[in-house]
């Protein structure tokens, strides 16, 4: 099987972590560690110890741990967009394309053999718990100018386009999709930690099925009526 590499925006790193053994280890292990410790509990010092390197070496790849998080989340959005491009190939019906996209957004994430160096299951848990922290900062405007959020914006725009193909009159295509993308994560977090805020049930095995149903109901009903 061919091994792929997502093209990441230059500004996401100081030195491309895909280029060196150490760089790949930094990304691989930080995914595991942020998943285990949470973003606040994670430090470059702990990571350095785990990969038998030093803080200063890690700082050569990423300006700080926030940038490393942004890199990981950007990778995730790029990956989703690639999966949606792949999944909607040769399909012309916009309703079907929208359905496929929402299916991919809400489906359970498994390790993708195309990207053997990334633990997608751990990354997905990070996305659910930490992704909002990439932009909920005082430097959001500068970060945005550097293009750090291009992945999320691009994905949002792509799916919003499907909506506008279905109903060009609909006024809130981008708002609805950014809402749906966030809701897809949020509801899983709530299901696990604050269950009274959802109607999902983590103990049942149709969790991701319900999530998809919810998103599809919400999006299609909202644009149609």
């Amino acid at each position: 099987m061919a091994t792929l590499q997502l093209l990441m925006s230059e500004n996401l790193f100081l030195r491309d972590p895909q280029d060196t053994e150490l760089g790949r280890k930094i990304v691989q292990e930080s995914i595991k560690m942020i998943d285990e410790l949470g973003f606040e509990g994670f430090t470059f010092k702990k990571l350095a110890m785990r990969i038998d390197s030093t803080e200063a070496s890690i700082y050569r790849y990423f300006e700080n741990k926030h940038r490393l998080l942004v890199y990981m989340i950007a990778w995730y959005w790029n990956w989703l967009e690639y999966k949606i491009d792949f999944g909607t190939q040769n399909i012309t019906d916009p309703e079907r394309k929208l359905e496929i996209a929402l299916g991919i957004v809400s489906e359970k994430k498994m390790t993708d053999p195309f990207f053997p160096q990334i633990d997608e299951e751990a990354l997905y848990r990070i996305v659910i718990a930490e992704s909002d922290k990439t932009y909920l900062t005082k430097q959001v405007d500068e970060d945005n100018k550097e293009g750090l959020f291009r992945g999320f914006k691009s994905l949002c725009h792509k799916i919003a386009t499907f909506i506008l193909e279905i109903n060009p009159e609909f006024e809130f295509a981008h708002s609805l999709i950014s809402t749906a993308l966030q809701a897809g994560h949020q509801q899983l977090f709530y299901a696990q930690h604050l269950p009274s805020l959802t109607d999902f049930d983590t103990t049942k095995d149709d969790l991701h099925q319900k999530n998809m149903e919810f998103l599809i109901t919400m999006v299609f009903n909202t644009i149609k009526c």
Copy 2:
């Protein structure tokens, strides 16, 4: 005019900040400072300097700055619930109640003369930019056991009840409302910082009007069809 005081859950503080001059100053000034510096840039040391007190004194009221944020956000949700109770008084039609609730959620927040000690405009900006950080932590389950999120859950449940009065068959009442409550803030943040993720425009004065239209369209369409 009568001055009110919202009843805050005991676990939100070590010593009730409403009881003393210092306590009230801590809450008042920290609202201003978190609004200015962001939650990450805010420290108890800076706050102590500003109110001419000491770090240790502040730690007598709040275990740490995270708890102080949780307190502020809980106050906000309690305030909203009070406004919705007030606004839906004597109204029996569930559709009208839902409409009123979503109106209150999305309306521009002004200083409330009933609570002269709180700067609601600054607090609203904090809610938009920081509220997710109250639960996106590794201690969310312990915090939840202590009842720190009761305000948000209670509000969500109240509005979800309106939905179930309209359509008892609807499967995702809680999910839809928690999604709408978050979307109402998120879209305003996006409008200001990542405008390609919304269809709102901060330069126009109908921003909050659009936000309400969006929430009402989304919620009513989703539950009706």
